[in-house]
């Protein structure tokens, strides 16, 4: 049995794991990344789902990763380039019309009444101001309340100053809306159901919420805050999200990190007091001064570490973490470019099929009772419209994020899969007549598939529900929100840590900072 020794071993080569490894390696640490799958990237991968057709298996747009992180890791030098940035959003409703939202320009939007057209930039302006004030909340390592460390006080002070600088009127507005549901907020500003549907969709995307669920303004602000720090609007990397992971891999390797794929970790090892390495499924042991897990909290704590190493109350909190996914991913191989009703020419943006907040709420109703939506709501992109290399010449791929698809489908996904696929195609056909006839292959990734293929317990994109009670000093749980596990020497860096999922990379960056801080 070979025994190697590293400063840090990173369990899981998802984007956060790679970001963490890159930062640690750049700081001169010896780092080993262990990825179970044959390729790095976790859910941020570009995969062939039908012969010749490739698509981003998880998220299909890169709009939340801060430009500072991309710059610090020099990702463009490591091969990351954008096939499209500042992509527009088309909100479609068959028989109603189209609204085109230029989120980046925050103005030129067509298909709106004069009142809505005027209200939209105002709304974006105000929300972005509030979101920007919240960015320090998202950006840093959450403080440990009551611990009395100067660094924690500094974090709180920075946040306080940012909020105070908003001024009385805007701070009051932030406090008023932060816990609200997005439906009510949008009612205050807009008339067009289609516009409200598209905006509400962003607030509930990837969550277990409908637009009438409290806390959905918070999720919208979260998205806007991250988008603000990313600064390139909706963007699509050339080569899909897998290209991001390849760039991160290259950046980490160039900095000296060692990366091993197809190397599943079986156990995080604890030597008396501290995490001291990992045992691989092959039986091999790797020693390390610290272990950083990019896996979700449930997998990390209950499967890799084991409840035996943890206090019972902590384990209870981990098991109560809301980790059930509600979002499915749908891919279709197309013989020709689809034509969406209401979009002239090639759809070089994302298409949101969520006719109104009520329609989303109704779609959500089913999910509450273990059924998938009878009328699902979708975010659709045709990646080949900006990046032809993803499909054979002249052919196209379609990628859609579909809600709502509960992890624990009552009838089971064995029988539900075909029916749900059919429902999605039916919905697409309604908005893009002829699309169905052009489909040569499809792939549906339910939360159960996401769990199995990407080793995310519960199949939730954010590893754990993004909600006020699972955020900041409470993410994943109180007492372990500083990327530190209760077991010294073990850290978490995945989407289940602050600030959360959505291909931000901040979990990885902050975890690396925490590791470096403590080793000092």
């Amino acid at each position: 049995m070979s025994v190697a020794r590293y400063d840090a071993v990173v369990v899981g080569g998802g984007h956060n794991g790679l970001v963490c490894a890159a930062y640690l390696a750049r700081a001169g640490r010896s780092v080993l990344v262990l990825e179970a799958n044959p390729h790095v990237g976790g859910a941020a991968v570009t995969r062939e789902f039908a012969p010749g057709f490739r698509v981003s298996a998880g998220a299909h747009l890169l709009h939340l990763m801060p430009k500072r992180l991309i710059a610090e890791l020099n990702l463009s030098r490591h091969g990351l380039s954008m096939a499209a940035t500042h992509m527009p959003t088309y909100a479609l409703a068959s028989g109603v019309g189209t609204v085109r939202i230029e989120a980046a320009a925050r103005s030129a939007s067509d298909g709106l009444t004069a009142a809505d057209a005027q209200a939209l930039p105002e709304f974006f302006g105000r929300m972005h101001t509030l979101a920007a004030a919240l960015w320090p909340l998202l950006e840093g390592i959450p403080p440990r309340l009551g611990a009395g460390e100067w660094r924690d006080r500094l974090t709180m002070a920075r946040l306080g100053i940012k909020l105070r600088l908003l001024g009385r009127r805007r701070l009051r507005e932030l406090l008023r809306i932060a816990g609200m549901c997005v439906h009510d907020l949008l009612e205050e500003h807009f008339h067009s159901p289609l516009l409200k549907g598209a905006l509400a969709f962003d607030a509930v995307l990837g969550t277990n919420y409908g637009p009438r669920s409290p806390g959905t303004v918070f999720t919208l602000l979260y998205r806007m805050a991250a988008e603000g720090a990313a600064g390139q609007g909706l963007a699509q990397p050339a080569g899909g999200l897998g290209a991001l992971s390849e760039a991160l891999e290259s950046a980490a390797s160039a900095a000296g990190a060692e990366i091993r794929t197809a190397t599943p970790v079986q156990r995080i090892l604890v030597d008396g007091e501290r995490a001291c390495g990992v045992r691989l499924e092959s039986g091999e042991q790797v020693e390390a001064k610290c272990v950083i897990s990019g896996a979700d909290p449930r997998t990390t704590y209950l499967k890799l570490l084991g409840a035996e190493q943890l206090d019972a109350g902590f384990v209870r909190r981990i098991t109560h973490l809301r980790t059930h996914g509600m979002t499915a991913k749908f891919h279709a191989a197309l013989e020709r470019m689809p034509t969406f009703l209401g979009i002239d020419g090639i759809p070089r943006g994302r298409v949101v099929l969520a006719p109104s907040p009520d329609a989303i709420e109704r779609a959500f109703n089913h999910a509450k009772y273990g059924e998938f939506s009878a009328s699902p709501v979708l975010e659709v992109v045709v990646p080949t419209s900006c990046d032809a290399a993803l499909a054979p010449a002249g052919k196209h791929v379609l990628s859609a994020i579909v809600q709502y698809a509960p992890y624990q489908l009552r009838e089971g996904w064995d029988s539900g899969r075909a029916r749900f696929t059919d429902l999605i195609l039916e919905t697409l056909e309604r908005h893009a007549p002829g699309l169905r006839a052009a489909v040569s292959a499809t792939e549906l990734l339910t939360p159960a598939d996401i769990e199995a293929q990407f080793r995310i317990s519960g199949g939730h994109w954010h590893h754990a529900e993004l909600a006020l009670d699972q955020f900041f000093t409470m993410r994943p749980v109180i007492g372990a929100a500083q990327y530190r596990a209760p077991v010294p020497g073990l850290y978490l860096c995945g989407a289940g840590t602050h600030p959360g999922g959505g291909v931000l990379g901040m979990g990885g960056r902050n975890a690396a900072q925490q590791v470096l801080r403590e080793a000092r």
């Binding site: 035996e308 206090d311 019972a312």
Partner: protein
């Protein structure tokens, strides 16, 4: 179910299988609730019952003691993660007194663990704990079920207790060592006997199926007749346990699961139960917090007090000086000890006043026919237990 239950609003408390017998002996009709059951506080007078414990033989209905069966492949690992003692080292057929803590290292409760087999245990506690036991089960292959109603239990305590059991026909009972348990056959019943108790005296606890409860009671009362065996209530037991230096939950500490105020939960180190915490055995709930605490200067600790005079220092505030200028703690339990002829107490004291030999002052209020008097009484920190007769440990156990 032990007895037919009326609607809960008519009979909110359960009755133990000894209830009918106890009612016959009860002269003052003084029943109190204990974890859902009705039990006896006093049968005749507290003093009479107390002296049965120390000078003869006493019977105490232990049935309300909450009992859990813990079994399964991971039972030992489970208990070692739950409790602070090293359970894997407990031999089959032995009993251990132990405690368990929450994540912050604060005491939840104490109890006794019986090891019946390689991975078969019984945990006995004064209060219901199923919630915490089930939470602690996550990640362990172990079954936990409450068996309180399936086991009737009596504590037979006092110098003559061994003699009574031998007279009853339990051959070899005198060889049973402290914290050992053994099964005996007595007519149609199988009787589990453990040399355990809450009195700090020679004594046994008897565990039997409920249908044999009355028969066991009758036979014990008959066997012990010439030794003036007597049923006792909780009040007399409380004096005995205080002499033995044992803690009473919700009197000397409040379970951390029940505290609402910050800083009122107590750690085993504060309760002077550090000897029950094994830091070398591997992880257990609360270990990290306790390790940290053990490396810092202690803030407070439970200690025994010998108080001047003969007025129990019940609930007394304690001071560093006789003028009561500096408050340093308070009394949790206090009584006049008839056997020691000392006025004893347990008290939570701030550092450094818990150290043996320290002099402190107790503020005692006396009710003189509704005229209240306040006394500042000198007290000294002393070692516990206050009373520890040799017969308690001697094996083979002696006759009296």
């Amino acid at each position: 179910m032990l007895t037919e239950r009326e609607p809960y609003y008519r009979q909110p408390l359960l009755r133990t299988p000894f209830h009918a017998r106890m009612r016959e002996f009860s002269q003052v009709d003084c029943f109190i609730p204990w974890s859902g059951y009705s039990t006896v506080d006093v049968f005749t007078t507290m003093e009479q019952e107390y002296f049965a414990i120390r000078n003869a033989a006493s019977l105490y209905d232990l049935t309300p003691m909450v009992k859990y069966r813990i079994a399964g492949p991971d039972a030992t690992r489970y208990l070692d993660r739950l409790m602070t003692r090293h359970i894997a080292k407990l031999p089959v057929g032995r009993v251990a007194y132990g405690i368990w803590c929450d994540d912050s290292g604060k005491l939840i409760d104490d109890g006794t663990v019986f090891r019946f087999g390689e991975s078969e245990y019984r945990l006995c506690t004064a209060e219901h704990q199923l919630d915490w036991l089930l939470d602690s089960r996550i990640g362990f292959d172990v079954r936990i079920e409450e068996v309180t109603a399936e086991v009737a239990a009596l504590a037979l305590q006092g110098p003559c207790s061994c003699w009574v059991l031998r007279t009853l026909g339990l051959n070899g009972i005198e060889t049973l060592a402290p914290f050992e348990s053994r099964a005996f056959t007595l007519g149609a019943m199988t009787l589990l006997v453990s040399r355990t108790g809450f009195t700090g005296d020679l004594g046994y606890e008897l565990w039997v199926e409920p249908q044999h409860a009355e028969s066991l009671w009758d036979r014990l009362m008959e066997a012990g007749r010439t030794r003036t065996i007597r049923p006792i209530g909780s009040r007399a037991l409380n004096i005995a346990r205080l002499e033995a230096g044992f803690l009473q939950p919700n009197v000397d500490f409040v379970s951390s699961g029940r505290t609402l105020r910050n800083g009122t939960a107590r750690s085993p180190l504060e309760l002077a139960l550090g000897w029950l915490v094994d830091f070398r055995k591997g992880h257990f709930t609360g270990r990290r917090a306790l390790l940290q605490e053990s490396q810092a200067q202690p803030l407070r600790r439970l200690a025994g007090l010998d108080v001047a005079g003969n007025k129990p220092a019940q609930n007394a505030l304690l001071y560093a000086d006789r003028h009561g200028r500096r408050e340093i703690g308070s009394v949790t339990s206090a009584a006049w000890s008839p056997t020691c002829k000392r006025n004893i107490a347990l008290a939570m004291l701030a550092a450094p006043y818990f150290e043996t030999g320290r002099e402190v002052w107790a503020e005692i209020y006396l009710n003189r026919e509704l005229v209240w008097e306040r006394r500042m009484v000198r007290a000294r920190v002393v070692e516990r237990p206050f009373f520890a007769p040799q017969r308690r440990r001697r094996t083979p156990a002696a006759d009296f």
